[in-house]
């Protein structure tokens, strides 16, 4: 039967609101991306000579031009990535092409890659802008590693076969290891870097067999070949376990998150932003690509359950830890664990709905996960950059050494407030829009007929809601302790704010966070191609500019209308107040329930009378910490008559440390000790080993011969 000729006015299948772009331009997209890769590699190669050269020519006053060149180049690369991603999302996918290197390596861009390319481009642009603003600080090795880190992520995203995927993934890991080890003189940073790289090795060791198993039946590593022969039976189970462990470890899924709260803070701030914002998303991309796309749509219901369960656990644990941490960047890293958990819940739900033939809901869940990934990438970059600015301006990352910075750093404070509100999923910001979609998907989990799954769904809803509320608490704690109140140290009182590119690096993601909060509909429409790849038969609820409608029951979200509602209500409140109240305010010393004014030598008051980081976390530590994080608290009161201060000790232990990593390390040590007995042999015993081997093999040969 002949294909009917396509109607001339028919748009390409994946045409979206940007209009179908010229398919002929598509190879150009790939060429541009490959050139970007090469350019990033070149930047890395030239970074050390560039950093050294001016010292030779001009001496030490050479200035930061190597840093400027590298970060400027990365900014350009980021723009190319975002542009190419948008071009593909608006046009057609690019067919796989080999990379011009000596091994078979296919790259391509389809809608899913393109979505994450946009994400990577935006996050990298913010990060590079910040790097540009602080180019003077960058050591040569960081200038080498930074473009390679970007290149690794780019390569992982445009991979069209298993080899390139793992190559990019691992290149990203080792380049970022150099960045994590930036401050390698401090033992904590070394510990973080070591654990980070060990987990990266673990990820690789899980992903390579997974790809091997996926490609085993077709014998070809390319994605196209793998799609034709999806795994079945125990192979499928093994693939699932390996991918969840491998990519999940990189994404920071509980219980493999042990490295994340250590490593993300250890890197320079703009790298932390990239790691939290983009790198975890690359891991999510790998999860989605391998489990939802390549493993085929015909997987059973339990396919999504591990993601669902681990995602829920990550969400709760990450958000709770964020309420207990005292280091700003560690706190943000824990919040990343939470958000990764939420995204994984979305992906898991998509897999389950797909298995239950609930196409619409599957599309909803997948779209929500993609949208949240994008939103999180931006607001988490924003937060890391903002707190990086604080760490520069006020010279500390400790909540207990900051405070009152809203006066000294107003722009930073404003931008961070936007990011924190989005992370707390408050309407009308971007975090709320995507979490609303996620929650709608979770609330529909009962439509899968299986009772056990329904019960799981209820638990997941409770966990996600708990996580969202905990995240709000953590963000209030972060913003309140860092920017509000009084400075807790003289250094914090003398903080200064960055200008120029540093400010732009904060305003760009802040603006996008606001914008994406208002435009989830068009974004979802843009993601349609990506959702189609993950959930082939799923129909996406077409988001329009004004509204996203969910399911058949009529739940919908209208971000612009919400903004209108808020405007109306706000105007009403304003008008009512203005009608009666006098303008202006009077200033006076803080009342503070009638406490004494601070003495002269403490111009900002006694810092001890402010809530501390541990104090603010106390209610949650008592409510949930004891059971989930083995939190403890002890009060030491001085003896009566002793003028010494009372002390409160508090702390917690991550369960992954206590129940997973520590026992594994013990097991390893025990095994190594055993092996040592086998290794540490005197000469005769050493000789005995080959002799015994020979005799055993001879006996084997004799037995085989006799048998």
């Amino acid at each position: 039967m002949a294909q009917p000729p396509a109607a001339p006015f028919c748009r390409p299948a994946r045409a979206s609101i940007l209009g179908g772009s010229d398919p002929l331009r598509s190879p150009a997209v790939l060429t541009a991306l490959i050139l970007t890769l090469a350019g990033l590699g070149l930047l890395a190669l030239l970074a050390v000579p560039m950093a050294r050269a001016p010292r030779v020519w001009i001496g030490d006053s050479a200035g930061p031009w190597a840093g400027l060149v590298v970060h400027g180049g990365c900014l350009l690369a980021a723009a190319v990535m975002a542009g190419c991603g948008l071009a593909v999302l608006g046009g057609a996918a690019v067919a796989p092409q080999p990379l011009p290197i000596g091994v078979t390596a296919l790259v391509a861009v389809d809608a899913l890659s393109a979505w994450f390319l946009v994400l990577l481009g935006l996050a990298a642009a913010c990060s590079a802008l910040f790097g540009l603003a602080h180019a003077r600080d960058a050591a040569p090795r960081l200038l080498v590693a930074y473009p390679l880190f970007l290149a690794g992520m780019l390569l992982a995203l445009i991979a069209a076969d298993g080899f390139v995927l793992v190559l990019g993934f691992e290149a990203m890991s080792i380049a970022s290891w150099v960045l994590v080890a930036a401050d390698h003189q401090s033992p904590e940073a070394r510990h973080a870097a070591r654990r980070y790289l060990a987990f990266a090795v673990f990820s690789g060791i899980c992903l390579v067999p997974a790809i091997g198993l996926l490609a085993a039946s077709s014998g070809d590593l390319s994605f196209a070949a793998i799609r034709t022969a999806p795994p079945q039976g125990f192979v499928a189970a093994a693939v699932l376990a390996l991918v969840v462990a491998g990519a999940g470890a990189k994404a920071g899924l509980v219980p493999l998150h042990g490295w994340l709260p250590l490593a993300h803070p250890a890197a320079p701030s703009h790298v932390s932003a990239l790691m939290s914002g983009a790198m975890t998303k690359v891991a999510i991309y790998v999860l989605a690509r391998l489990l939802l796309d390549l493993s085929g749509p015909a997987q059973p219901l339990w396919w999504g359950v591990p993601l669902l369960v681990l995602g829920a656990a990550s969400a709760v644990l990450g958000a709770l830890r964020a309420n207990l941490e005292t280091d700003t960047k560690t706190l943000l890293a824990c919040s990343t664990i939470e958000n990764v958990g939420l995204i994984c819940i979305g992906l898991g739900l998509a897999a389950c709905f797909r298995a239950a033939d609930l196409g619409v809901l599957a599309g909803l869940a997948a779209g929500a996960a993609l949208l949240h990934a994008l939103n999180h990438a931006l607001f988490k970059s924003l937060l890391f950059l903002g707190l990086g600015e604080v760490a520069r301006g006020a010279a500390s990352r400790q909540l207990d050494r900051l405070g009152g910075l809203i006066h000294a750093m107003p722009w930073t404070a404003g931008a961070v407030l936007v990011g924190a509100a989005a992370a707390a999923s408050l309407p009308p910001l971007s975090g709320f829009a995507s979490e609303w979609l996620l929650i709608q998907a979770m609330l529909a989990a009962w439509r899968v007929g299986d009772l056990a799954f329904q019960v799981l769904g209820v638990a997941v809803v409770a966990a996600a809601a708990l996580a969202a509320a905990l995240a709000a608490a953590a963000m209030v704690r972060l913003f309140g302790l860092v920017f509000l109140g009084r400075p807790r140290t003289p250094r914090a009182a003398g903080a200064v704010e960055g200008r120029g590119a540093a400010r732009l690096a904060l305003l760009l993601p802040a603006g996008l966070t606001l914008l994406f909060g208002l435009l989830p509909g068009p974004l979802l429409a843009l993601a349609e191609g990506a959702v189609q790849l993950l959930v082939p038969h799923g129909m996406v609820e077409r988001g329009s500019l004004a509204m996203i409608r969910v399911g058949d029951g009529g739940a919908r979200i209208m971000p612009l209308a919400i903004a209108l509602l808020l405007a109306v209500a706000g105007a009403l409140v304003w008008w009512l107040v203005r009608r009666r109240a006098p303008a202006g305010v009077a200033r006076a010393a803080a009342w503070d329930c009638g406490f004494m004014a601070p003495p002269q030598h403490l111009p900002f008051g006694d810092p001890v009378t402010q809530p501390s980081a541990a104090g603010f976390g106390q209610p949650l530590r008592r409510m949930l910490g004891g059971s989930l994080l083995a939190a403890h608290e002890s009060v030491t009161m001085p003896a009566p008559g002793d003028p010494g201060p009372a002390r409160v000790e508090s702390g917690f232990a991550d369960p992954s440390e206590r129940w997973l990593l520590a026992p594994l390390a013990r097991l390893r040590d025990a095994l190594a000790a055993r092996a040592e007995a086998l290794r540490d042999l005197p000469l005769t015993a050493t000789l005995m080993l080959p002799f015994g081997t020979l005799v055993a093999l001879l006996a084997l040969a004799a037995w085989l011969e006799a048998g």
Binding site: I406, H407, A421, A424, I439, L443, W446, Q454, V455, V458, A459, V461, A462, A465, A469, A472, A473, M475, V476, G480, L481, L484, G485, V550, G551, D552, G553, G554, A555, R556, I557, M558, A561, L566, V568, G570, L572, V573, V577, R580, A581, P582, G584, V585, A586, R587, A590, D592, C593, F604, T609, Q610, P611, G615, F616, Q618, P619, L620, M623, L624
Partner: protein
């Protein structure tokens, strides 16, 4: 015509709730006082208080930032916006398509965050204490609320208030144990969200166990008025929400129906009065909990929500 009716009802609704909010607070206080054998302030006292506060110029601490000045507006706006979504006397208000439990939860969270930030702005011990407790309690209240939303969404197929209200108004559901459990859970969440006994005592000042008042200690003048108004709006919101979900009788249908509106208005007034009475009765009957018992209280609510969902699964399976 429809659109005009929608805008009209919305405007009327806004005016109604703005007027009703102080009355709800005052009425509850008055009822509670009567039950305890006191005379009590007149029900309109909160309104007079508000007006008086509005006329005073606020005094800000020297190190207060713009957060202290902006947060009261944000808090009141969020509460009012949320309340604008909950139907009172009629369906089909202009913003009805937005009326969604999850959005309302989000708006409430926004108001809460504004309040907590304002509490931390000056850097006093009490402000931080209150903010920490407020955010922590919300962490437990929110899952319970979402579980109730899940139960309702299972029945109505949506978290939209219109759909839920319509379903209950039909009466086709009959009486279900799961709904009863959901109601109790929602009540508990409502108590916690509004800082009522047994979670917080709205009538106290300067006590180490307080939550809400601790955050507004530094507010004065119109800022304090806005915080008080926001609290009143929130209480009204919760009562209206309970009424709209579980007792939707008498609410006027979509469209232009002045008579229906009148009936709806009366029905709503009656429902709110009953709920205020119930609240007052509850508050005079039980004592405030120690702060760290509150998680148990909210945990119970969460458990009830969970139980409601499970029962519903079973019943849909058996049916």
């Amino acid at each position: 015509m429809e659109i005009l009716a929608a805008i009209l009802t919305q405007a009327l609704h806004l005016a109604l709730v703005l007027a009703a909010a102080p009355l709800v607070v005052g009425g509850t206080r008055w009822l509670k006082a009567r039950m305890m054998g006191r005379t009590g302030a007149p029900p309109l006292q909160p309104l007079w208080d508000l007006l008086k506060l509005l006329r005073k110029r606020p005094v800000l601490a020297e190190n207060a930032s713009w957060i202290s000045r902006a947060a009261p507006y944000a808090g009141a706006t969020a509460a009012l916006a949320a309340l604008a979504l909950v139907p009172s006397f009629s369906r089909g208000m202009a913003f009805a398509p937005l009326a969604d439990l999850v959005l309302i939860a989000g708006l409430l969270a926004a108001g809460r965050v504004a309040l907590a930030l304002a509490g931390m702005d000056v850097g006093t011990a009490f402000g931080g204490l209150g903010a920490a407790r407020e955010m922590s309690f919300a962490a437990l209240a929110e899952p319970a609320l979402l579980l109730v939303a899940l139960v309702l969404a299972m029945l109505a197929g949506s978290t939209g208030l219109e759909a839920i209200g319509t379903l209950f108004q039909d009466g086709s559901l009959g009486l279900r144990v799961s709904l009863g459990l959901a109601l109790v859970a929602l009540l508990a969440v409502a108590l916690a969200e509004n800082g009522r006994i047994p979670v917080d005592n709205p009538a106290t000042h300067l006590e180490l166990t307080m939550v809400h008042e601790a955050m507004v200690l530094e507010a004065s003048g119109r800022h304090l008025a806005l915080w008080e108004a926001a609290a009143a709006l929130r209480l009204t919101l919760w009562l209206a929400l309970l009424a709209a979900i579980f007792f939707p009788f008498g609410t006027a249908p979509v469209g232009f129906a002045p008579l229906g509106w009148l009936v709806g208005l009366l029905a709503w007034g009656a429902k709110m009065a009953v709920l205020c009475l119930a609240l007052a009765g509850l508050e005079s009957a039980i004592a405030k909990m120690r702060v760290f018992r509150v998680p148990e209280f909210l945990g119970t609510a969460l458990l009830l929500g969970l139980l409601a969902a499970l029962l519903l699964f079973l019943s849909t399976r058996l049916a």
